[in-house]
């Protein structure tokens, strides 16, 4: 291979490689963006429909409950034993229970467990013993 041949093949590979690799990957970027937008639109409308349906169902339920029981009751009863906690703390605990156990879980009572060890030292012990 003489010098001019070497130069020709080098430049051919360089230019073709550069253009083709970038062209294919840019094409992929565009396609991913387009279908990403389409998919998120479809899912958004599906979510909206679902939310609408749920809202309608709830409204229906509320209407039927109202017609059956004219005397309104408080929506959520405060747990019987709450150890004198504020409503905010009860709400936080109820939300945490709901997040972990999902719907259907009921908070019947909340009791404060007497603490023998400070919270931070408990966390430290947990952290050190977890690997074993």
């Amino acid at each position: 291979m003489d010098l001019s041949e070497k130069l020709t093949i080098s430049l051919t590979i360089l230019i073709t490689g550069f253009v083709v690799v970038f062209a294919v990957l840019i094409l992929l970027i565009l396609l991913i963006m387009i279908y990403g937008a389409i998919v998120s639109k479809i899912q958004k409308s599906a979510d909206e429909k679902k939310a609408k349906k749920e809202a309608e169902l709830e409204a229906e339920k509320a209407a039927s409950a109202a017609s059956a029981q004219p005397v309104t009751t408080p929506p959520a009863a405060v747990p019987a034993a709450a150890d004198g906690m504020s409503d905010e703390v009860i709400a936080v605990i109820a939300a945490a229970v709901d997040a972990v156990y999902g719907k259907g879980a009921k908070v019947k009572s909340i009791k404060k467990v007497p603490q023998s060890r400070p919270v931070w030292s408990t966390a430290g012990i947990l952290d050190n013993t977890r690997p074993f």
Binding site: M1, I13, G17, V21, V24, L27, G36, V39, S40
Partner: protein, 413 residues
């Protein structure tokens, strides 16, 4: 006395058949090289999953070259054959030379010869890609498709090294095979080399896997030299969550685009995307597990030992090998630098929203290159987590190097 004579003759025969008698000196050097590689694989844990079988294959072939020998036919005089088989004749073809009839008795090839066919025929690398696809989460790339640009930029190392190889006296096809080391993707390098320059498979595979193992040493100085402290501390916005539907569409879309435009890259990209579809579809759990575990492990063993077995003393100990190792390193460094520089460009274009360090992950080497981006970033700001952002260019690099391989194969093949 006769017994003693027979014993001595047997011992002499054994000695003559032993490696001590016929192994050339190059093989002894290669045995030492393989022991050093074994040490690096076991003690230093440099890519041990591949380096260990490669080093052992190298050791075995240099001790016993016949393990790679192709099947052949022996010419055995018919009279001798019948005499040694209790008068039974055979149905082998007969060749007559100078009035004597000879049977053409076929002999089998060595063990590695048959296992090597998977490399030679380009079967193993796509199967490895099947496993890689099953293990890869393309989520970060789908969430931020612009990182494809960084995956493409890192392939510039391949193209520039090609020029270097041509001017160092390699042929066009050989230069293509050497340049692909810059893709930092072992299976792609083996796939391209087995098609373009099978005679260079040993040195190229060893160089490619060595550099992949050395990513944490080679890349950080280049990354630091090309970026400012301010750029390295850029915190990137959290990636958006990607839905399952998007993840399922991705492999199908990529394979359609790549296979239509670059059919030569179809075996690699096709299997990569099939493995990924196994993963994302969620309906073929058993196939998904087999692709990423058992199948991948079996192929890795076969690929490793047979690639190592191509590195015989006479093939490996040449000036060309040194040139290949040097060119591979250059390819790798240019790829890293190009990735970082494009990262800087994206940083400017997005008004400082992209950390240029993720650009270096564009040279495949999944997930090591992404981990290096994370580490270098954290060295400046310990609260900065670049890993998921770097995974985008990293997996884009796998697709990018397969595309670059397709270009080289279609022009030089």
């Amino acid at each position: 006395m006769e017994i003693l004579q027979g014993f001595l003759e047997s011992i002499v025969d054994l000695y003559k058949n032993s490696g001590l008698c016929y192994l050339p000196w190059q093989n002894y050097i290669m045995i030492l090289v393989s022991i050093v590689l074994l040490y690096l694989a076991i003690k230093k844990q440099y890519e041990p999953m591949l380096l260990l079988p490669i080093a052992f294959g190298m050791l075995l072939v240099n001790l016993y070259p016949a393990i790679m020998s192709a099947p052949s036919t022996d010419l055995v005089p018919v009279a001798d054959y019948i005499a040694s088989h209790n008068g039974e004749s055979a149905s082998y073809a007969i060749t007559t030379l100078q009035g004597v009839d000879y049977y053409n008795v076929p002999t089998n090839g060595g063990l590695f010869y048959y296992l090597y066919q998977g490399v030679k025929l380009g079967i193993y690398p796509p199967l490895i890609f099947l496993g890689v696809g099953a293990m890869t989460d393309f989520g970060p790339l789908i969430a931020n498709p612009k990182s494809f640009i960084l995956g493409a930029a890192a392939q510039i190392g391949i193209l520039i090294t090609f020029i270097g190889a041509i001017f160092l006296g390699f042929s066009g096809a050989q230069s293509g095979a050497i340049a692909i080391i810059g893709g930092a993707d072992g299976p792609t390098a083996i796939f391209v080399t087995s098609k373009l320059a099978p005679e260079l498979l040993g040195p190229i595979a060893v160089a490619a896997y060595s550099y992949m193992a050395l990513v944490p040493i080679i890349q950080p100085p280049i990354m630091k030299a090309l970026t400012t402290k301010k750029e390295r501390t850029i915190v990137m916005k959290q990636l958006r969550p990607v839905s399952k539907l998007e993840k399922i569409i991705f492999p199908v879309l990529v394979v359609i685009v790549v296979a239509i435009f670059l059919p030569d890259a179809a075996p690699l990209v096709g299997m990569l995307m099939l493995g990924n579809l196994f993963r994302e579809s969620g309906v073929v759990d058993r196939l998904f597990k087999t692709a990423q575990n058992e199948l991948m492990n079996i192929i890795t063993i076969f690929l490793g030992v047979t690639v190592g077995a191509t590195a015989t003393g006479s093939v490996f100990l040449k000036i060309d090998t040194l040139k290949i190792i040097a060119l591979g390193l250059i390819a790798f460094c240019i790829g890293t630098a190009a990735g970082v520089l494009f990262g800087k460009l994206m940083c400017v274009a997005t008004k400082g929203k992209v950390n240029p360090l993720i650009g270096s992950a564009g040279v495949s080497a999944v997930p090591m290159a992404a981990r290096v981006s994370q580490k270098v970033g954290q060295a400046e700001d310990p609260t900065n987590f670049l890993l998921m952002h770097a995974m985008g260019p990293n997996v884009a690099g796998v697709i990018g190097s397969a595309v670059a391989a397709g270009v080289l194969l279609s022009i030089l093949g």
